[in-house]
Symmetry: C2
Subunit: 316 residues, 2 copies
Amino acid sequence: MSEPTLLVLAADPPPRLGRLTGRARVVYADEQSLAAQLPDADVLLVWDFTSDAVRLAWPGEGPRPRWVHTPSAGVDRLLCPELIASDTVLTNARGVFEEPIAEYVAALVLAMAKDLTGTLELQRQRRWRHREGLRVAGTRATVVGAGPIGRAVARSLEALGVTVAVVGRTARTGIHGTEDLDPLLSRADWVVCAAPLTEATRGMFDKRRFGLMQPSARFINVGRGPLVVEDDLVAALKKRWIAGAALDVFVSEPLSPDNALWDVPGLIVSPHMSGDTVGWRDRLGEQFVELYELWMAGKPLLNVVDKKRGYVPMHD
Amino acid sequence: MSEPTLLVLAADPPPRLGRLTGRARVVYADEQSLAAQLPDADVLLVWDFTSDAVRLAWPGEGPRPRWVHTPSAGVDRLLCPELIASDTVLTNARGVFEEPIAEYVAALVLAMAKDLTGTLELQRQRRWRHREGLRVAGTRATVVGAGPIGRAVARSLEALGVTVAVVGRTARTGIHGTEDLDPLLSRADWVVCAAPLTEATRGMFDKRRFGLMQPSARFINVGRGPLVVEDDLVAALKKRWIAGAALDVFVSEPLSPDNALWDVPGLIVSPHMSGDTVGWRDRLGEQFVELYELWMAGKPLLNVVDKKRGYVPMHD
C-alpha cells in the first residue's frame, strides 16, 4: 500500500510530523506552488494558517485533497464556494486555543477594571497618582459566540464573579439566541466577541450596536477582525459611547505602522496573540498527528467543520 | 448622659458620620493639634490612616481614648510601645479590602503572564510583534500572609487554576508555617506578599530570599513597603534572579519622582491602590458607624487587633 501524500503549506516544518514517517509522504508547498501541488495531495495541512492561498488556489474541479486541516479555530480564510461544495472534509484546532484565550480575556477585563494602562503610563512619567479601581465581581458580561472559545471565556469570567450571558446563533439551554443580542449588549459592563467570521457575523459590531452599549462598557474582540467595523469602534471610543476596548484581531493583519488604531485613546491593541501560549505549536502538531492517525485507521475525524455554517457545531 | 467625644484625624469629614448625630460629639484634629486633643477623646478615628501622627502623639500616661479605629488593614503606622501597653482597644478595617486586593493580584498575575506591559509598550511604538503568553492555570503561587487578604488572594488565584500555598506565622490546617517559607519560595511561579508589617516580617524579602526564587518567578507586594528590601529587589531584577515584579507599596510613600524604582526593567509600580475600589471610602465610613454602634451598646467590638502581634488574629 502506498503512503498517502500529505501536502503541508509551511515555510518551516511543523513539529511532531516526524512521527508520521512511513505513514505519509510529506511534501511542502508555498503560496506560489500550492495550486500545482493540490491535485496530487490526499491531505492538506494548512500549517501557515494566516495564508489566503488555499482559498485562492482551491481547484474548481478535478482531483483534490480528501481532507484539509487548519491548526486554527477560525476557518474563514479557507472557505470558498468550491471547497464548501466539495466532499473534502475540513477540520480545525478545536481544543487548543479555548483556555488560553479565556485567560487572555480575563487578563484584559481585570487590567481594564484596575486601569493598568493608566498605571503603566503614570509609571513612565514617574507620577504617583492614586486612583480607584473597579470591582470585577458583580459586573455583567455578554459573550458573543457560543462555541468552545465563547464558553471557556464565560467560565473564566464567572470564576471572577462576573454574571455572564452567552449569545449564539440559536437559543439553547444556557445560550441566548441572536434575538437577545441587542438587549444583552445594552446592559453589559463587558462585551466579548468570540464569534466565528461568517457572512452572518461580518461587521456585526457596528455604529448601531456600539450605540446600544453603556458609556461605562468595555468591548473586547478575540474573534476575527472583520466582525467589527473598525471606524465605528474608533468613533464610539472618541465620542465616549463606550469606556474602552481591546482588539487582538484586525481587518488587516499585521496592522501596519500607519494604521490609526495604534493610538486611539482607550483602545488596547495586541498582535493576534490571545490564544498563543508557550508550546502552542507543539500542541497543534500533536493534534494533527492524532487526527492523521484516526484518518489512516478509517475512523471518524474529530473537529469536523460544518462548511456551510463556517464552524464546528456544538453537540448541544 | 453626655455624648462620647469622637476625635477624627481627617482633613475632610468622612462619609456616614452624620449618622452618629446625637450619639457622638465629633471633633476634628490635624497632625499638629492631635497631641493636645487626645486626652479629651473617648474614641479616635484615624481617618487619615497614612499619617504617622498617632504613633508620635500617643500619650505615655494620663487620659487617652479607650478605642482607636483605623480604616486600613495594616496597623503598623499606629503601634508604639505605649499604645501596645495601654488598655486602649485597637480595631481595623478587616472585611473591606480583601476581595479588591485579591482581584488586583489576579490582574497582575494575568497581565504578567500575557506580557501586557510589552503589548502596551509595542503599541506606543506602533510595532506588531507576536509573542507567546504563559498559561496561568497549572502554575504555582506562594502567598505570604495567612490573614484574610492572603486567603482571599489564594482563593482568587485558585479560581484561575493556580496551585496555591499560603504561609503564615504558624502552621495550621491549610496554612504553612514560616519553617516552610524558603522551600515554597524556591518552587513558586508567583510569590505574593500580603503579610502584616511587624518586627518579625520587616525586610523579610531580601537578597537571600530573592536568590531562592526561580529565574522565571514573579514577585508581587501588596502588603507594606518595608517587608521588602527594595535595593535587593532591584538587584534581583537586574541580575535576572527573577523574571519580574510588581510593587503597590513602598518603603517611602508617595514614591518621589526621582526614586530609582520608577524605571527598573521588569518592575510594575502602582500607587498603593490595590484595595481601593469605587465606593471604598463609603464602605469604610459605614464600617466605622457599625462598630461605633456596637461600642455604644457595650457589645464586643469586631476586628480587634492583637497589638502585640500587630494584626487581627484569625480564629482557626
